[in-house]
Symmetry: C4
Subunit: 478 residues, 4 copies
């Protein structure tokens, strides 16, 4: 609406000075260019194809995302429960909850040895123990071996053997850096059968690490699981299945098509806009001998089109990746989900553009546009203080408080404090052991919170209220 306002001003200017035929068509084209889909339909009976494509795209991309998410949820749950099961099976004295990043911590030589033997014992009895359909993995009809790898300051490598006990007792001394036990199991996800899909087979690469790198008297035991989905080779599956995925592939293909159409339409619009701009600037230069000012030029470049094109490209890449995953030739779920997720986010944000055609609806966008430069400039200043506090808090309070351990954690902690979260725990976790640091922490926290919550946040409100006031007036008069 602001756009129309500006362009009509310059056209009004045209009208007075150059009532020529060519200028008349240019004027018409310009007016048409800045119309909303609704007005275009009224003016030239042009059906809003682009709008229809966008709406179709929203529905399809969201459906695709939801389907993908739901199917993936089962896989994630399956992997997590397997990890849990392996931890309970192979780690002695595992309590069901991980400590920090590791599963179990042991402190005596005896318990290190016990834990190593426990793993070996449980591994050897696996088929009697486990309630799930797992068994030893094999390659070319030979069972894959269990590998024990030991790293110490005089490095050595020990394969699974019978004389193991004597060896291990000897090995667990203070020079020990790492013991790593790794083996591979195969499993089958029967869960999919209930939805009449063929089962997925998995290779579980289990790695149990006894970590003594810190040499602090605490050996951390971690169990890592790398679950790779693979085709089920030695399983005979009878019955109808596999079809469901065909429908999905067709759907994905259709999405790619829609996104391509949308992208092509937007690129065409941008090209047309640039041509129109060139005609307009030539006209201006010829008639009035003046250049089109930058602000007017910017009106021709529609940021929304750029957004839509980026979103389309991401959706296409995401869909292709998704098809690869479904064909099991790829497993990088994360990259795919980031592409799909971001494109969906952009598509939904793009809806605001169409809401903006209704005069009363685009307060949010206009206010944001008006407030953004001020807010960013202000964020620069506040950011300096924020950075200073981040560094200062990390170096001084890091050794005494869990939340100040890493730079990114400090930044997140301070960000949460600004928003009024987790304040009392942050205060309370400092124990009064070291009085100097305790005092410093009080000064640090009180000044930071007061400064940011009361000064900076209030200024944000002031800035945006101010921007809203400036927006409100033309909206009322227009």
């Amino acid at each position: 609406m602001r756009i129309l306002h500006i362009s009509q001003n310059s056209l009004a200017f045209d009208q007075k000075h150059a009532p020529l035929a060519s200028s008349e068509t240019l004027r018409e084209d310009l007016r048409y260019y800045f119309m909303s889909p609704c007005e275009k339909y009224r003016a030239r009976r042009q059906l809003p194809w682009k709008l229809a494509v966008q709406i179709l795209k929203i529905v399809m991309i969201t459906t695709q995302l939801v389907l993908f998410g739901l199917s993936n949820q089962l896989v994630v749950a399956y992997k997590e429960e397997n990890l849990m099961a392996f931890k309970n099976l192979f780690l002695k004295s595992y309590s069901g909850v991980d400590e920090d990043d590791y599963s179990v911590a042991v402190y005596t030589k005896q318990s290190v040895i016990d834990n190593i033997f426990y793993v070996l014992d449980q591994y050897s009895q696996l088929d009697q123990l486990s309630v799930g359909p797992v068994s030893y993995a094999e390659e070319n009809r030979r069972l894959l071996p269990l590998v024990i790898c030991k790293e110490s300051y005089r490095p050595g490598r020990v394969e699974s053997s019978d004389e193991l006990l004597r060896l291990l007792v000897f090995l667990v001394n203070y020079r020990l850096v790492n013991v790593e036990i790794s083996f591979t199991l195969k499993g089958i996800n029967l869960q999919t059968i209930s939805s009449h899909e063929p089962p997925d087979c998995y290779m579980f690469a289990v790695t149990i690490t006894f970590d003594n790198q810190c040499h602090s008297g605490k050996v951390k035991i971690t169990l890592d699981l790398d679950a790779v989905s693979s085709a089920c080779k030695n399983w005979k599956i009878s019955g109808t299945a596999q079809k469901n995925t065909h429908y999905l592939l067709i759907f994905d293909g259709f999405i790619i098509l829609v996104c391509l159409t949308s992208a092509v339409l937007c690129i065409r619009s941008i090209v047309l806009a640039i041509k129109l701009l060139q005609r307009f600037s030539k006209f201006c230069l010829k008639k009035y001998n003046r250049k089109v000012c930058e602000d007017d030029q910017r009106e021709f470049l529609n940021g929304w089109y750029v957004l839509v094109i980026i979103s389309d490209v991401m959706a296409i890449i995401g869909s292709v990746l998704k098809m690869e995953i479904q064909a099991k030739s790829m497993t990088s779920y994360d990259v795919c989900s980031i592409f799909l997720g971001t494109s969906t986010l952009m598509v939904w944000v793009g809806v605001i553009r169409y809401l903006g055609y209704f005069q009363k609806y685009n307060v949010l966008i206009l206010t944001m546009q008006a407030a953004l430069p001020k807010v960013l400039r202000f964020c620069c200043c506040a950011g300096m203080i924020y950075l200073g506090y981040t560094f200062c808090g990390w170096i001084v309070l890091g050794p005494y408080h869990e939340k100040f351990e890493g730079l990114s954690r400090v930044a997140e902690c301070l960000f949460s404090l600004v928003n009024g979260d987790d304040m009392f725990p942050t205060f309370a976790e400092f124990q009064q052991k070291n009085t100097l640091v305790w005092l410093f922490s009080r000064v640090y926290l009180y000044t930071f919170i007061s400064l940011f919550v009361y000064m900076v946040l209030s200024l944000f409100i002031a800035l945006i209220t101010d921007a809203y006031e400036t927006i409100k007036v033309p909206t009322q008069h227009a």
Copy 2:
């Protein structure tokens, strides 16, 4: 007060042009219609019946709700404690706290079998074990059986038998999907005796499920309890009781009566208003040949009456359901409480209407009326971005963060973040295992929180402050 203002304008308009007798009575009726109860009393000495009925209704409905809630609290506590007791009795190695949605998780075949036998053992010794008044349920003088139901990919059903052990060992293999042990117990709630009411009898349908649907090596054991209140058949109860419920039924009946009265009065008012509107529009049409504009028409339709009628209908339905529950012919407590609760909420909200008669009190309502359309329009725009973030967060962060597991959970999590809750935990729970997703989560959370807390919330304040300003001026002048 705004209502009066408008109608007096149109009446002032009447006065000048049509000083007729019929117009005079219409004018009087109109003026009377828009009066507050207090003014009506002064004008025609009409006692404010409707107001009195409303006040009586508030008192009675709130009393009813509190009595119902208190009596129900005991029942809920009884059921919960029974569930707890059964979990402790029948589930081996139950720690007192549930893991996720299930009570216990086991990981080895042996422990599955142990747990099944433990249930059977405890069930057979029930009368020696339990401290509560529970015993085996019977129907037609025959004890109800304990049923073990096993679902596997080759389904089978096993009734409780002596050769059970051999069978079970055979059964617990990877094809197992489900084992379900179900039995029925009867109990008696003696607690009510202390308040001189007859005891309630209960049938407890206990279902213990060993869930291996996921085939991930983790068998989840859940205990579900379905407690149904029933009449105590084989118990001889002596002494005076039962009277208390009579009083309650009379009270409920009286409430239904009051609500009916209130509803009838409101319907009458609406009918009168419509008639008055018809007279007024006829009059306008005849005299000035113009239609009554829509805004004026809307003044005649009082939204409060609609609210009161809905509230009355809900209270009546709720009271009827409550009487059914007390007569033990129904157990759907939830539906009843939703009807009663919602009607009470509406009745209390309705009080604001009477406060609104005092000029200074209706700032809240007027400001809300003024701000509501803007706020809703603005919510549309913000909602698009919100939806986009919800989908995007679910698909990308779902597998890595508990709070992003389901779409509704993501929406709740984001809503909490906007209000400054649980921010640090949301940040902190992402572990730096997957760097790409970790980076994405930071960008995602920082942009979302900054956008919504600093931009959107500040705009809310701006919108409502603005609405308040526009409201304030006429209030001061009126």
Copy 3:
């Protein structure tokens, strides 16, 4: 400052019409009455006694409160640790943390009997077990007995005896309501010796309750401790002590004196003000035949004096109670602390009055005065909706969510939600078991939070910003 403004207006009015001698002294007295301590000193060289007394009072009352609190902290810690020690000594399978309101819960007959015997065993070996200085209490040289009290639907009372086992097995059946074991121990708090004070002796009345009132199969075991401080009779204490308390008593006496002085001075001021008001109104009536308007009359009644007098009376009562506690003739610590605490709060709030004499400092008070009526009126309206939500939430969500169990808890939970606390946990604790209630809870929470956080809170800001604007203008001009 606003006061002075008004009074000077009316005096200016005097001046023109009645230049009489008596009016002149009245004018002088009035002007003097409305002066600040500083101006009074400049005008008549009167030393600000009242101010000095107030400052002295702040210092003394705060000192007294801190001393009292510190000494009490030790006593509280002593009692709490004893309670902990008794729980660990007498309750079998006590884990160190209480479940809900009870210490341990048991579910089988055998464990009830085991727990009862454990208590008796531990009690009989107390001197071999406990590390603290506790022993069996005696009265008139006879040991106080251990009492076992059993309540069942056929009530009976059993004294500690040898045939106990047979009896108990018989007793623990479903008719059992309560078993209560109570005994008394004596202890001595040696901790005070280190600060050269005489030790305090304590009588510990221990009550262990096996609660089966609910008859739900869950027997809750609670241990209650009633610790009464008493004089140490059979202990010979040598060395210097007791003096410290003398000083404290003198200090308390001095505080009472100061508070009395302050109260008397304030009452005198109020009396003088009333006399002055009478003179002024007589004068007005005689000269101009008009009454003093209510607003002017209110200027004479200084609310601060009332605050100071209430605070003084509370401080005096608190100090007397404190002396009683120190003399060990009373133990109601709570009443005393409430009196002392509230008086200290008022004394500190009273400081604002003196800050208000500096023109720029009294923004807070003036804005609050201006905003208070609007805020209260607005709170009425919001309160209705709040009450409605409270009742509705309690009845519907109570059985499904811990936070909605009691009416006061619901109110607190909603209050916290309005302030952005604990939002996600409130959402997340509803499990999707009952879909209808789950849906209701979402609608309930989203509407409540949106309404209150975005509409009501923003209106608060609008109201107070508005009040501040009206205050600011006269402040700048004055």
Copy 4:
């Protein structure tokens, strides 16, 4: 920009009245003095040395801080893990989590004796147990002894001996105040080897305290670890190392140099400013016979220079301390980190000054400058009420609520409540045991939160919005 405005006013005043040669140079110098680095470069081609030094300083100080923090993180982790390992080795029944401030609490004589013997047993088998490189410490080739120290009301000291058991049984009676077992171990941090640095040796002074000071029947066991880094004497280290620290020392030296330069430049600027001010005031006195007003004088004293000098001095002290720590002649890490952290904070805050040269960027600083006096004055008033609530809450609620136990904790708790944190837990933790205190706590919390969140915080927003309005106008016109 405001500075320039003011000084140009006075110069404009100069220009009209005194067109002399000396006044002309003064004017030139003044104008130059108030220029930004950019303008100075344009005017006299002077390169912005000071700016360059500041930028260099920011980069270097931040680098130094990050390096120092990272190296220290390893040391802190090493110490913490050692503490954890010792607790697990020497404390019987240690659960992995500390209770309050102590590690384990025991309640019976037997368990006290068991725990003491456990320590001795584990100590004697240390080399068979521990997985870390620790061994008994020795001094002058003699092993350092394990010392058991017992404090009771008849004090005694017992050295480690064979007849220990009989003795201990005798000792653990109610007169016991403290048993302290202390011994020294030596360890080596091999972790540094991986980064090709020489290993650090540590002396661990372990103190295990059995604390019975309270005589409440609860003996608290704490393990304190004092880890002192020392040179590795009896270790032969081969290979290249030590160089890395050389580079670090050179880097630190360079930082000291830069900071010195920066401080000298700033002092020079201040001296120049004072001289200029003297010339200006002499000139004013001579020409117009008037003094330079205080506001104008303040313009000459640049607060930023003072900030930079303080920051430089702190950075220098911090760097020196850091060099001492690296040379292992000092261990006071905290003092060093406070100096380095604070100087880094100041350096980053100082960046805002340069942003302030861009007209649109200094909104934050100007608004803060404008709002600060009002905010501080207002904080005074609010602070009084806050203090009152703090004292009142401490004395009344202290014995019943963990968060109200100490004065500083109450202040922190109330501060968190104002910011909307931890509200529900604060409400919920009060149990309804003592009805009077429970009621008081509700009144206390509701009034405090309502007052501060709705009145005081809204006023903050009003104050700062107001300050922003006053700032905004000249910014737009300038």
